[in-house]
Subunit: 393 residues, 2 copies
């Protein structure tokens, strides 16, 4: 069924062809529990170790560090909490500005606010959907003033202390270029790898370039712990601080309850970590199934006019967390009709997030030119991406 | 074995007599999973609903509201998060002062800091261990200035916006007197009921007097969800706001991701709520077993000189979350030897928390006279309190 002009029915039909599991409803992303999930969770209940102490938290942290190749992983309650702590341990202070991509899940931005800092929106690349290095450099040259105390915003007088890069929908951002800008402008680099477990930048797992990085294990992610997240770092001292302040900053003692700084109760409960240990065992298989599905989408949508399937960048490997269609600029008006038709057919699809600068509570934040973000937000459609959509071999 | 003078061995021997389960190690408080825990958790794994959506969160919130008698309960990731949100929805603003008991778990205080507000320590009662109404009134009369905008601290110039009351170790605080002071001085009353599920003040479950209240379901609490907490309120509008801001402040829509204020990712995952639903079913039995144990302690320690078992106040009913011994003033030097001996014997005991004003990060906070807190901290010993220490009938 090849047409010369895009319409919603052709998108719906192409999706159905790719989705071997033909029975609606088909979720955007559902978890897969086919390994040791039961065994490990039941072990927690049988031993009574469900909470803040127990072997699975340590095991999960060690296995996460091994999988991602970082020195230290700290398991926490969710991705938002991991970002808040990442900013804090990266030295972001209340009142600072943090550069945040304009097109991301709201947590990247709210975590900046949770630190008492100010989001400053930067544009995204139309190819990687990560922060656009060229536009970032131009923006910083326009508004930045280098001082011995760091980079300051000429327009607000505030310190710009960090850049957070998001590996959007699992596609690795242009890290070499972004790291070079951070080094040149004296910005701390934080990677929000919430969406990119199993994604690699030039052969290295995402999250290894930033001073601190974060993961999410929400139920819609590639692997899940119910709710959960992690802080990743190659700096052992920062890893220690992250662990300490996410566990109430308690001073170790046999019975005494003393604490040495303002801490958070962000530790991941043992029962959730048990789920995570089982999920990590399955991760290679899940990633492989997700790549199979992405390959099917890629081939199928090559034939369709007016829309492109977003393939991984040449320099990296994507986990294809959420498979993504991008409508041509002159087809943007079809976004909502396509969402309407596919969701009515029980195929869950969704647009990208609303650009951050359009949300009422962030409308007054500083921003650079974010025209790519606006354009992509009007043209992106995420399509079903669960590993279960690829049958077992 | 009645002696006329207290020594550590007599305390250890008396504990052993009360603890029918003679085999060390005996934990301070361990959870009990003997109901539908595995059934409900397995249901989450089997259906894939482990995370932010699923029936157990709604069920847990409804059953919590029914059990405690409040209009609305909102389940969140832990007690600290519930306190932070309670302060925010109660109208505490950055820069305000919040009155906090000097002897409490550090989370009561850190949650104030997480709101950008300033803890101001007040003293505790030597009988209830809750906030001392008489000393609070005297303190406020000394430093408070009433204005049309509320109560201000004459010494700091800051607004004092709220009082948080803790039902320490499960014993209900003196709510009538404290509520009257809040009304007279125009303070918002928040109840930290983290330790007091199943505790009643004059026949009403704790958490019903404050504008907002909080619970904790950490692994050491009477019932647990792994990690978890809840916000309780009798104000429907405040309940709605609490639910909204703990779930990223997302505007409900079939596919659009828009948010209308700075929100938090504090929702309790479904798998943790499933555990909570099963625990709530067992709660009446667990409370009854805990009361049996407390009764045994009370009788046994009546005979022992130099130390008292803390009984519930006449006006209320305690869940006896952590059973508490209080050494006579002239026996305080025995606290550490008793802790040493009992812990060496595998009977887990612990002192109260370090008074808040002695922690380095809170040493500069405002405080009233906190002499009761200092005295009690030097004399309190918490003793094993698990429901499993009472055998089944």
């Amino acid at each position: 069924m090849i047409k010369t002009k895009l319409d919603p029915s052709i998108v719906a039909a192409t999706l159905t062809t790719c989705l071997n599991k033909g029975v609606a409803p088909i979720a955007l992303h559902e978890p897969s529990f086919r390994g040791n999930e039961w065994l490990f969770v039941k072990d927690c209940l049988d031993t009574g170790w469900v909470s803040s102490v127990g072997k699975y938290v340590d095991k999960f942290e060690q296995e996460l560090a091994a999988f991602t190749g970082v020195k230290r992983a700290v398991a926490v309650v969710n991705g938002t909490a991991s970002l808040q702590i990442a900013f804090e341990v990266a030295g972001v202070c209340p009142g600072d500005e943090v550069l945040v991509p304009d097109l991301t899940f709201v947590a990247t931005t709210s975590a900046v606010k949770h630190c008492g800092a100010n989001p400053h929106f930067v544009d995204i690349s139309v190819t990687s959907l990560g922060v656009d290095p060229q536009k970032l450099r131009e923006g910083l040259e326009k508004i930045g003033r280098q001082t011995p105390e760091g980079l300051f915003n000429l327009q607000t007088g505030k310190k710009i202390s960090a850049l957070v890069v998001v590996h959007t929908f699992g596609h690795p951002a242009e890290m070499d270029e972004l790291a070079e800008i951070c080094s040149e402008f004296k910005l701390t680099l934080v990677e929000d790898a919430a969406e990119s477990i199993g994604s690699y930048y030039k052969g290295q797992h995402t999250g290894n370039v930033g001073l601190v990085s974060t993961l999410s294990f929400n139920g819609n992610k590639t692997i899940t712990t119910g709710g959960g997240g992690a802080i990743l770092t190659n700096d052992a001292r920062i890893g220690e601080i992250a662990k300490h302040i996410t566990t109430t900053a308690k001073i170790p003692h046999r019975w005494k309850f003393a604490h040495d700084r303002v801490g958070y109760n962000f530790r991941m409960p043992n029962i959730n970590a048990a789920l995570g240990c089982a999920q990590l065992e399955s991760l290679p298989l899940l990633l492989s199934k997700k790549r199979d599905l992405a390959a099917r989408y890629q081939i199928a949508f090559e034939e369709i006019p007016g829309v492109k399937f977003l393939a991984e960048p040449k320099y990296g490997k994507s986990n294809y967390w959420l498979n993504t269609l991008i409508l041509d600029e002159d087809q943007a008006q079809l976004r909502d009709p396509i969402l309407e038709l596919t969701n009515n057919q029980g195929i869950q699809t969704r647009p990208a997030w609303e650009p951050m600068h359009t949300l009422p509570m962030y409308a007054d934040c500083q921003r650079m030119d974010v025209s790519n973000s606006i354009s992509m937000a009007s043209r992106i459609i995420n399509i079903p991406s669960s590993p279960c959509l690829t049958p077992d071999v």
